[in-house]
């Protein structure tokens, strides 16, 4: 039973996740289009809704070119590492009610008491995909891109990890389910971002997460104007698609983590104001709705920022990370600890 249910859960989550990745790309193209006063993709299917399928098909059918100068084993391994890490982290994310069936959580692949640490683990391993791809490509643009990416990810990982400590201090647990449970009581008033007093932690997390996923305004690793394509310059066809999927997958994961840690996870923003529904279907679907809505809001914010802010310069990026974000995250830890100890 355990094995069957696990396989079913993994399959369902994987399909939903990959579809979400494909449609995040479409969402981005649509939204950035609107921000720049144009339509974005409209031709394939109604409102361009079939565009992701066609894009996928195109990438799949393209010729896979491997340049002769590459270091082959690592060149082939790098996109696999990137995509695997991106897909792995979704495994520890709970996304619905704590409903159990035969003693197993239905709306989480695995519910671990060190879920948060696993997420940080996977992030720290994910750096290798980018670092190795740039080095093994044997191309100066790729190498520069991957050096930038690795340095940026290592620097911002610190601020990212430290910004989460405040939440852990409040919950006194590393389990993502416990973190959500603490925020469930009074709805929006007990969310970590408001009631928990973690608004600064949220902002630090937000900025560090943009840098961690190499997204604008911190997209220096693939700055087209200076580096052609950055670390994936030499990759084509499905190997390029794997990097692409990894990037958007990471965006969604970061959105899920922000939702769980700061925005109350799958709980409704009204808390006790609305009595818990008696209907089982509503009881199951409402949390899923709130979770997806919050992640969608986060993705919207991501794309909005990309469409609005210009790219940082490299020295600005580094000094911002080390001289502002890191001390701010540390101050937040001290502040939260003091507040928890004194109040």
């Amino acid at each position: 039973m355990f094995v069957v249910l696990s396989v079913v859960k993994v399959a369902v989550v994987l399909v939903v996740f990959l579809t979400a990745v494909a449609y995040t790309v479409l969402l981005e193209r649509k939204l950035v289009g609107r921000i720049q006063n144009r339509w974005g993709p409209t031709r394939v299917g109604p409102f361009g809704l079939l565009q992701p399928l066609v894009d996928g098909l195109k990438l799949f059918l393209k010729e896979d070119i491997i340049p002769s100068g590459v270091y082959r084993p690592l060149y082939l391994l790098a996109p696999l590492i990137a995509l695997t890490c991106s897909l792995l982290s979704i495994a520890v994310i709970p996304f619905g009610t704590t409903l159990r069936w035969h003693g197993m959580r239905l709306f989480a692949i695995s519910d671990l008491n060190i879920g948060l640490l696993i997420l940080l683990c996977v992030t720290s391993i994910g750096v290798y995909g980018i670092a190795l791809s740039g080095w093994s490509s044997n191309n100066k643009y790729s190498l520069l891109g991957s050096l930038r990416a690795s340095a940026q990810m290592i620097s911002y990982e610190l601020a990212l990890g430290l910004s989460l400590v405040g939440v852990v201090l409040r919950t006194q647990s590393l389990s993502l389910t416990d973190i959500v449970k603490v925020q469930a009581v009074h709805g929006i008033a007990s969310w970590n971002i408001f009631g928990g007093g973690q608004i600064f932690a949220f902002l630090i997390y937000l900025m560090a997460a943009y840098a961690e996923t190499n997204r604008a305004p911190f997209d220096l690793p693939e700055a087209e104007t200076e580096l052609t394509g950055g670390y994936h310059t030499e990759y084509s066809s499905m190997k390029f698609a794997m990097f692409f999927m990894a990037e958007y997958g990471n965006m969604i994961t970061v959105g899920c983590v922000a939702t769980l840690l700061f925005l109350g996870g799958w709980t409704s923003p009204f808390g006790d104001l609305i009595p818990p529904p008696q209907n089982l279907l509503v009881h199951v679907l409402a949390p899923l709705f709130w979770f997806v809505a919050k992640v969608f809001f986060f993705l919207f914010l991501y794309i909005w920022v990309r469409g609005t802010l210009p790219r940082f310069r490299y020295d600005q990026l580094m000094s911002f990370g080390w001289k502002f974000l890191l001390p701010a995250a540390m101050l937040n830890i001290v502040g939260t600890s003091l507040a928890l100890a004194l109040l």
Binding site: L74, N113, I114, L117, I118, L120, C121, T123, S124, I125, V127, Y128, A131, L132, G134, W135, L143, S146, L147, S150, A151, I154, E157, Q172, L174
Partner: protein
């Protein structure tokens, strides 16, 4: 189940370590070291030390090894060369390693009688339990260690600093 997993990952760790020595290219050696570190993390997990396992991956396999690969990538070192020194190290090194390992194993086995041992099927030590030990029973050694690390960081900064006064 625990034993099977232990055997698999112990094998991974050993294979990674052997590969580290045999590979001629520094980046392959660095990657083998990552395999060793990650397999060790799984072994920790099997012994019920979940926090230690994750810290092992985040700190060693993640942060420290990224710096290793970073340096290899930046210097772009080629294949390793055989010199007189490396041949001498090979002849002396292997017996020395055997002696060192034997001594360590004997010492650990003897100490195990005093402190007790863990077995593979033991329950998980939660992070809460670990932090109680670290921050209550062993607070002074823990803080002393962190001061020591801070001194090391300051030393590194002082050494790396340029001597023109305004750097």
């Amino acid at each position: 189940m625990h034993l099977v997993l232990f055997l698999i990952f112990a094998l991974f760790a050993l294979a990674g370590a052997a590969n580290l020595l045999l590979q001629k290219h520094p980046i392959n050696s660095a990657l083998s070291l990552i395999v060793v570190m990650s397999s060790l993390a799984v072994l920790y997990l099997l012994l019920g030390a979940e926090f230690l396992a994750m810290a092992q991956v985040i700190v060693y396999a993640g942060a420290i090894m990224v710096l290793f690969t970073f340096v290899v990538m930046l210097l772009n070192e080629g294949r390793e060369e055989k010199t007189w020194g490396s041949r001498a190290a090979r002849t002396v090194g292997f017996p020395a390693v055997v002696v060192l390992l034997a001594t360590l194993a004997a010492a650990i086995l003897r100490a195990g009688r005093h402190y007790g041992m863990v077995s593979l099927s033991d329950g998980i030590t939660t992070t809460q339990d670990l932090s109680k030990v670290l921050f209550r029973d062993l607070l002074l050694p823990f803080e002393l260690t962190s001061v020591l690390i801070l001194i090391a960081i300051l030393g590194a900064v002082a050494l790396a600093r340029k001597d023109d006064g305004n750097a």
